[in-house]
């Protein structure tokens, strides 16, 4: 009998059979893990409330033949309580989970930085002190950096010519100088690029001064970058509620 223990954040739950669920977690040491939680849909289940999305938990797994089985769970942080009470936070947090799920493609491959990023983003969303939309964009930019897809914001993405440059090309991977600029590039204002840089390195004082228009444009660019690199649409991103609290 092989047991192992890890801490993780619940990314998604899927129904299995009559009362079971498949729980996808991003864990500290074992990367993404998909495991069966038995009987959790029954109202008398002792595990049920602990393995809901957004929960940060300490879990014991039993190694199964195809999927591992969750045997014990203890809550570390119940982020869900702070998140589901506000629809904007909920939709932003769902986009965080879906991105983390897509970025950790291989099960069992350690993704410690992404795990820490997810925990940080959910904590910030549950606290509710910052604009959920900014928290989401900051998470997405840092997740892009984790995957090696960090956009060039202060120099040309193609020739490295120091900027700032006006043109921004998703395909080229960030801002581009007039010589390298491919056709169909966007031309965001300087404020948008400053906001994106501030979100990527966590300079919140700068990020929170940004205007609504800059926030909207930055969100659009970040979403486009992410979906270009992931080569697929995220289902939760179009449903994210972007309004200023």
């Amino acid at each position: 009998m092989s047991l192992y223990r890890d801490t993780g954040v619940v990314l998604r739950v899927q129904k299995l059979g009559e009362a079971d669920r498949i729980i996808t977690l991003i864990t500290r040491n074992h990367g993404k893990v998909r495991a069966v939680a038995k009987g959790v849909r029954r109202t008398t289940s002792r595990l049920g409330a602990r393995v809901e999305p957004f929960a940060h938990v300490d879990v014991q797994f039993y190694t199964g033949r195809t999927l591992d089985v969750i045997t014990q769970v203890q809550t570390i942080d119940a982020f869900g309580a702070g998140i589901v009470g506000d629809y904007q936070r909920y939709t932003s947090a769902c986009a965080v989970l879906e991105t983390a799920d897509r970025m950790s493609a291989e099960e069992g491959e350690p993704v410690l930085r992404l795990y820490l990023l997810v925990g940080g983003a959910l904590r910030a969303l549950a606290d509710g002190t910052r604009d959920p939309s900014l928290v989401l964009d900051a998470f997405l930019l840092r997740a892009l950096a984790f995957a090696g897809w960090s956009p060039a914001l202060s120099e040309c993405a193609r020739c490295g010519d120091p900027g700032p440059h006006r043109a921004f090309s998703i395909q080229a991977g960030g801002s581009v100088c007039p010589r390298c600029k491919p056709p169909g590039s966007a031309s965001p204002t300087h404020e948008v690029l400053t906001l994106m840089a501030a979100l990527a390195d966590g300079t919140w004082a700068v990020a929170e001064r940004a205007t609504d228009a800059a926030r909207r444009e930055a969100s659009g660019l970040v979403a486009a970058l992410l979906q270009w690199h992931l080569e697929r649409q995220l289902r939760s991103l179009p449903l994210v509620e972007r309004r200023r609290p």
């Binding site: 998604r12 059979g17 009559e18 109202t43 008398t44 002792r46 595990l47 049920g48 409330a49 602990r50 809901e52 999305p53 957004f54 809550t75 119940a78 869900g80 309580a81 589901v84 009470g85 506000d86 629809y87 909920y90 939709t91 769902c94 986009a95 989970l97 879906e98 289902r235 939760s236 179009p238 449903l239 994210v240």
Partner: protein, 198 residues
């Protein structure tokens, strides 16, 4: 592999939820040996469920006619509406025999991870129903999980502006017949915060 029709039947039965290959084989051979009248009855029931069942125009529950039995029943209290996720939940609440009002079936819960937003649910129909009928209380009876809670939060925000409307949420706490020491901290916390004077 069996020949022709028997294997086809096993394959079709095997696609049903909760039916594995062995169960499918057992059901197929049971049907093969059953009385022709029994098989015909099953056949008719299957056909009727696809052709005869529609969704109620008012509440969205499964129904034989354009309005369901509960919405047609004049004895039911028209001022209270219980909002649930699925038609299965209507039956669960009906079994309690505690609720005398009417229902509204949303057809699911808000779940951005599966691409389900407010537009995919029957939320607009609920709002127009409340705007046009004499409804004074809306009971939110979504599942006590993350998606259900988020749906309730969203509905509370939408229903806040209706004058004179009481919005309530099903109580959540300890299941009957259980031991307190085995309750998980979230449920026990909810039970404590929702305690009542006796």
């Amino acid at each position: 592999m069996y020949e022709g029709p028997v294997q086809d039947l096993i394959d079709e039965l095997g696609r049903l939820p909760g039916v594995g290959p062995k169960s499918a084989q057992r059901i197929a051979f049971h049907l093969l040996g059953a009385e022709p009248a029994d098989v015909t009855r099953l056949q008719e029931a299957l056909q009727k469920v696809k052709e005869g069942v529609v969704f109620c125009d008012v509440c969205g529950n499964v129904s034989e006619e354009s309005t369901c039995r509960i919405c047609r029943d004049a004895r039911r209290d028209p001022s209270a509406v219980c909002v649930v996720e699925e038609p299965k939940d209507v039956l669960a609440i009906e079994r309690t025999r505690e609720f005398k009002g009417r229902y509204h079936v949303l057809g699911g819960a808000l779940d951005p991870l599966s691409g389900i937003g407010p537009e995919q649910l029957r939320i607009r129909q609920l709002l127009s129903r409340i705007g046009s009928q004499e409804i004074t209380e809306v009971i939110l009876a979504m599942d006590p999980n993350t998606e259900g809670e988020a749906t309730a939060t969203y509905l509370v925000r939408m229903l806040r502006d209706f004058p004179g409307l009481t919005v309530t949420r099903l109580a959540s706490g300890l299941p009957m017949g259980g031991d307190l020491e085995f309750a998980d901290e979230l449920t026990l916390g909810r039970a404590l915060s929702g305690r009542r004077t006796v």
